[in-house]
């Protein structure tokens, strides 16, 4: 039976109706039309559905919607400010970290979560942080480079 849920998404509260067994990913995409988060495997293997839940990256395909209530949800749609892409987004483009683009939103969310916690990560730490995001195009090298460049860019902004 459908129930009403109020979800705190990207700084606002969104009301929606869903079955309790629906995933946060489906509700974000189908009900709230936030289609930036991608549905790849639907089994936590690919990471393309990564969003932040209370600041921590999670695979939204395995979060049942009732478990997202009363928690702060951040999706890829919230990263740009006033139409300006976030440094991680910009550097993914600059460094050639995007090819087909399917993994990109999830990859960016994992990288964004890493940089919130650790503003100056090593390559190894970057690789660990994105190890749950599968990319079949780039070979990861340019993605790692993009995250490092974003970290540098953000570091410079802060000084």
């Amino acid at each position: 039976m459908k129930q009403r849920y109020a979800l705190r998404v990207n700084g606002g509260t969104r009301e929606t109706e869903a079955e309790p067994h629906e995933s946060l990913l489906d509700v974000l995409r189908e009900n709230l039309r936030l289609t930036g988060s991608k549905k790849g495997c639907n089994e936590a293997e690919c990471g393309s559905c990564t969003v932040l839940l209370d600041g921590r990256p999670v695979v939204s395909c395995l979060v049942l919607v009732p478990d997202a209530v009363d928690r702060e949800i951040v999706t890829i749609e919230a990263l740009a400010e006033d139409g300006e892409p976030h440094p991680v987004q910009r550097q993914m483009v600059e460094q050639g970290g995007v090819q087909c683009g399917y993994c990109t939103p999830g990859m960016i969310m994992s990288a964004y979560a890493l940089l919130q916690e650790n503003p100056d990560p090593t390559d190894e730490e970057i690789r660990f942080a994105i190890s749950g995001n599968i990319c079949r195009c780039t070979g990861y090298g340019k993605i790692v480079k993009a995250v490092r460049a974003a970290a540098e860019e953000m570091g410079n902004e802060g000084t």
């Binding site: 067994h21 936590a44 990564t50 695979v59 049942l64 009732p66 190890s131």
Partner: protein, 297 residues
């Protein structure tokens, strides 16, 4: 995939909901196994009973002198990032770090990893090696303490049956001069399931020369995680020289009963155990020596 969804806030309420379900309802913690199994229709359920709003099942503490106590619903990542846990029980951290992905470990619980009772569950070998115990709420609402070693009864099955609940896991404070280690083998370095795994906890004697106490646990090579008792007997009371560790590993190899499956043949798994057991023993001994040095200084 349709079912009722319950959010009890007390243990009695949860236990009652499961009892009323007569086996047709399932407890839900992180959901990273249960939700996938429901979607694949490997399991069916009439209702999920979410346990994450029950205070007794959350929270954890790693306090010097008191070991580690963790509520069953504790997300894996909470423990994985704890310097206190890594400093005192590195095998637990080593096991947590390789489960699924970081985004999964932010959801998945340690208790769920045990209750799912996969023979390859990564958290099981270190907990068995470290003599952890599980606090269990039986379907009859009695509370019992079960060694994690005896928690598993077969692939996907545990002492909980269909109505029991795992409340918490206790890892006792290690004796002085103790070290532990975990290692597993997977072809890929991330997002993979162990073909075989091993953990060891070793306590050295006061001189730091002989192994006084030892526990070796193996994963993915039997219907449940198992102890390698014969291997333990071969090193207990002995000096941990390379030859000795090699003999122990050869014994461990004969103690496992692995199956052939898509990840590897039984024969391959046995070979892996021979290597993994030597590595974890060596590493555990090294850490025991290092811990002995810090205790003396």
């Amino acid at each position: 995939m349709r079912f009722d969804y319950f959010e009890p806030t007390t243990l009695d309420e949860a236990s009652g909901l499961l009892r009323e379900g007569k086996g047709a309802r399932k407890p839900l913690a992180g959901g990273t196994d249960v939700v996938i199994q429901l979607r694949r229709r490997v399991i069916r359920t009439e209702g999920l009973v979410n346990l994450k709003r029950i205070p007794e099942l959350g929270g954890w503490a790693c306090v010097p002198g008191k070991g580690l106590r963790l509520g069953a619903c504790t997300p894996m990542r909470d423990l994985e990032t704890s310097a206190a846990v890594e400093g005192r029980f590195p095998s637990i951290t080593e096991a947590l770090r390789v489960v699924g992905s970081l985004q999964l470990r932010n959801i998945a619980s340690v208790g769920g990893n045990l209750c799912n009772a996969s023979p390859s569950a990564d958290t099981a070998p270190p907990l068995v090696a470290l003599e952890a115990t599980a606090r269990v709420h039986t379907p009859e609402s009695r509370q019992e303490t079960v060694p994690v070693e005896n928690f598993f009864t077969g692939p996907g099955a545990s002492v909980l049956g269909s109505g029991g609940l795992l409340l918490s896991v206790d890892v006792p404070e290690p004796a002085p001069r103790t070290g532990d280690a975990f290692e597993r083998f997977t072809p890929r370095s991330a997002m993979d399931i162990a073909i075989a795994s091993a953990a060891a906890a070793v306590t050295l004697d006061a001189a730091g020369e002989r192994i006084e106490a030892v526990r070796i646990a193996l994963g993915a090579v039997a219907p449940t995680p198992i102890r390698a008792l014969k291997a333990e007997d071969l090193v207990r009371g002995k000096e941990p020289n390379p030859k000795r560790l090699e003999w122990a590993a050869a014994a461990a190899m004969e103690e496992c009963r692995p199956i052939d499956d898509i990840r590897g043949t039984g024969a391959y798994r046995k070979e892996l155990i021979r290597i993994l057991v030597q590595r974890v023993l060596r590493q555990a001994v090294e850490r025991a020596r290092a811990n002995g040095r810090t205790e003396r200084s």
